[in-house]
Amino acid sequence: MFEATGINQQNDQTQKRFKMLFGVMMVILIIPVIIIIGTLIYKGGPSISWSFIFDHPTNGMTQGGIFPALFGTVWLVVVSLLASVPLGVAAAIYLSEYAPDNLLTRLINLATINLAGVPSIVHALFGVGAFVVFFRFGTSILAASLTLAIMTLPVVIVSSWEALQSVPRSFREACWNMGATRWQTIWNVVLPNAYTGILTGVILQVSRAAGETAPIMFTGAAMFLPFLPNSVFDQTMALALHLFVVATQVPDVPESLPFGVALVLVGIVLIMNFFAIWIRMRLRGKKKW
């Protein structure tokens, strides 16, 4: 009575074929990641040491460490965050909590999302025009950081907006109905419940800002500097650009050096991403409403 008939077997076959297809796709996707990280650890791992991280490059960047580049990357990321986070979060709050739902708001939302897709080299050229030349910051940490900030801003806005929107509307209604102003509602109820989400978005942008080369190449990052920068108006070295330079521009570099630099860069990015995932998991566990 319940035996499979021809049509069942046929359906079963199709189902198995699709399962296989999706499985293979997944493997194809994951193989490059494993190969990249494996190669980096295999070839770059031996060059990682305390002195590699804390020494200056020597002998025309063919030996020594990467400290100035690491230091510069931290500088660039921190300064760009100081610019992009307050601006982006404020814009997201306006779009999510204050802006009326009309055509203009929707256009701005759409434009913001599309801005996230602009190639980084375009941002770089904008940075040269705006910050280096027009505002006369010269090629400096400030100009490069602001360029990175402009590049990361759209995603900061979009992810903050999503975090704000994920706070249930019923909380807002409860507040409004008690006579709270929008700001009282935002400060007391919306932000305390959205900040972990906002933080996750910001951290993912940190890893992106740390890894970008194009936007800083023309605006503030130098191939080689004998000294560490003293202020935001100095140029600096940066990991991403350093990797590009030692991999392609400098002759006679031992093979393990660029792999070591890449490993440090990928390591920083991965650590930041795992940190973001960890925050998100903690948030999921805690949020019960």
């Binding site: 739902d101 209604e173 409860a174 409004w176 109905n177 008690m178 006579g179 709270a180 019960k288």
Partner: protein
């Protein structure tokens, strides 16, 4: 407190909490209320019944002007609370909403402690930037929880989060308690029991009955039996118009209009 107009000196008719004059309301181009004229008395429970989409909730939400958040709502006519038009330009929304509290269909406690939920409204209306002396705060919390019959269950867990570990009934009572510290006189309830089980419904109804007299209560309900047992006057609405407004007993036993009779007999809705 809103100013009393001098013309309301006559003693004989019962005092009114809410009065509407030719109230028409549109959502964009859709008209949701037609010429609503209602006199809702002070200190009693008035229920608002009618099929889905008849304008009950719309009316409720226009009394404390929360409808305006939608942005595309237009209103003609007036709603007066204690003889003052709440749509007059001089009306401060925060003051109006202090006077008129709203309870929602789904209990919506804020994701903060039980204590802070109750103090929230008090804090935002407090001139000292929300700072309250500890003894004062304790008094406010106890008084509000006693009024909603929750004090005994809640007194030992005031610092627990209000969104976790409370039954829906307790949450809904908490949402009522949260309104009380700012001393409202009118409570609007939008199907306050529809998310609750029968036991919770009974408990919340009992509470509403308990609050009668101290507050004027306007309660929207889908449940005709509830309107019948838990209100003193009843308003029947249909397609955005008020069909009948009379003492609950009378409306259910000897309705004047055929539509009312059909609705309470369950022919539609």
């Amino acid at each position: 407190m809103m100013t009393q107009s001098p013309s309301s000196g006559t003693q004989t008719p019962p005092e009114l909490a809410i009065q509407t004059r030719d109230l028409n309301l549109w959502y964009g181009t859709f008209q949701a209320l037609f010429d609503v004229n209602l006199n809702i008395k002070k200190g009693i429970i008035t229920s608002l019944i009618g099929p889905s989409g008849c304008g009950k909730s719309t009316f409720l939400r226009s009394v404390d002007r929360i409808n305006e958040r939608l942005g595309y709502v237009r209103i003609k006519g007036s709603i007066e609370v204690y003889n003052q038009n709440v749509y007059a330009p001089s009306v401060e929304l925060a003051q109006l909403r202090k006077q008129v509290g709203m309870v929602f269909q789904r209990p919506n406690p804020l994701p903060i402690s039980i204590r802070e939920n109750i103090l929230f409204g008090y804090r935002i209306h407090n001139e000292k930037g929300g700072r309250i002396a500890k003894s004062e705060a304790e008094g406010i919390v106890e008084d509000a929880l006693r009024q909603v019959l929750l004090w005994d269950q809640m007194k030992d867990r005031l610092d627990n989060k209000a969104t976790v570990g409370l039954s829906l009934e307790e949450m809904q009572k908490l949402c009522i308690a949260r309104l009380l510290p700012v001393k409202p006189t009118i409570l609007l309830m939008d199907e306050p029991c529809s998310a609750l089980d029968p036991k919770g419904t009974a408990a919340v109804e009992e509470l509403i009955w308990e609050l009668r007299g101290r507050y004027s209560i306007l309660i929207v309900t889908h449940n005709m039996a509830q309107a019948r047992r838990a209100s003193e006057e009843c308003i029947f609405m249909l397609m955005g118009r008020v069909v009948e407004h009379s003492p609950t007993e009378k409306l259910f036993v000897t309705p004047v209009h055929q539509e009312t009779a059909d609705y309470i007999e369950g022919r539609y809705g």
